[in-house]
Symmetry: C2
Subunit: 161 residues, 2 copies
Amino acid sequence: MRLDRNKESARQPLPSAVERFRKVLQRKSLRWTREREAIMKVVLAREGHFEVPDLVAALRKEGVDASRATVYRALPLLIEAGLIHPTVLSGERHRYEATFGHRHHDHLICSQCDKVVEFRFEAFEILQREVAAKHGFDLTDHFHELIGICSNCKGKKSADA
Amino acid sequence: MRLDRNKESARQPLPSAVERFRKVLQRKSLRWTREREAIMKVVLAREGHFEVPDLVAALRKEGVDASRATVYRALPLLIEAGLIHPTVLSGERHRYEATFGHRHHDHLICSQCDKVVEFRFEAFEILQREVAAKHGFDLTDHFHELIGICSNCKGKKSADA
DNA sequence: GTAGCTGCAAAGAATTTGCAGTTCT
DNA sequence: AGAACTGCAAATTCTTTGCAGCTAC
């Protein structure tokens, strides 16, 4: 999760997301285009995690003009603007999650049924900064994912092999 | 990092790694072959993180018989045996790290120079189990990676764009 | 003897890139 | 006008698979 304590972004509607995105573009002398705007909106509207091929399909379904290539090219910018964040998730393809307008959280995942629980534990946030500081780092981001077996799956026999 | 508190595996030489691997194979009615053995040894001998294509190249260089396909097929077994573990590390391809004979640790990474610091902080281990338990999960594994700017890079101007 | 293995080469997928035409600023 | 964009299709990679012949048990 991109750490972001100096901006009261959570819970704000679209305008400030637009602002953030524009700011990044401006700083890099890049342009605000209809495609980038469309991608941004669809991304922010998505619930939970998403993978790029799915996102591309979703765009197409909404009749949004934005080719796969353009989507791939936009992602790093959205990340830089703090609107989305890569997530780990044992999966194969890259996964992202909209972070703008969402309270920061990490994930607890059942390895058997893939159930995902979002959690937030302030102690982690504090200790992480401490650990980083102890090694002379300024913490800017982190990935934290817990893997386990949920109560529901505990009973079931593991049909291993 | 695969959690493993019931086995005093760390610091032990090869034999017990072999034993573990054989045990997994046995349980799944799979076979102990010269290729799997060779892959296991080369993997355990590697320092730090590795990606599959590099591992395959390393094997070839040592004249080890083991095709790419066989390597890919062996990895899940090595993971199951607790000899290696996938790591996050923002990279593109899958990355692994030998865990057998190494004390568990997580990573602190400089996003500018890619410097990697291994850290271990007992509090995290404990709190993670607590969080999992609070949601009814049995924790079996976790990914935890801190991203920041190291002291060395702090001075440098960020030649962004 | 048989189920499982292996290498190979082909297949699959996700992501990236070169290019020619378009569009912000 | 000029730099930056976009879609397309081709190119790259990593990873997986089908198959025919080998090998551990």
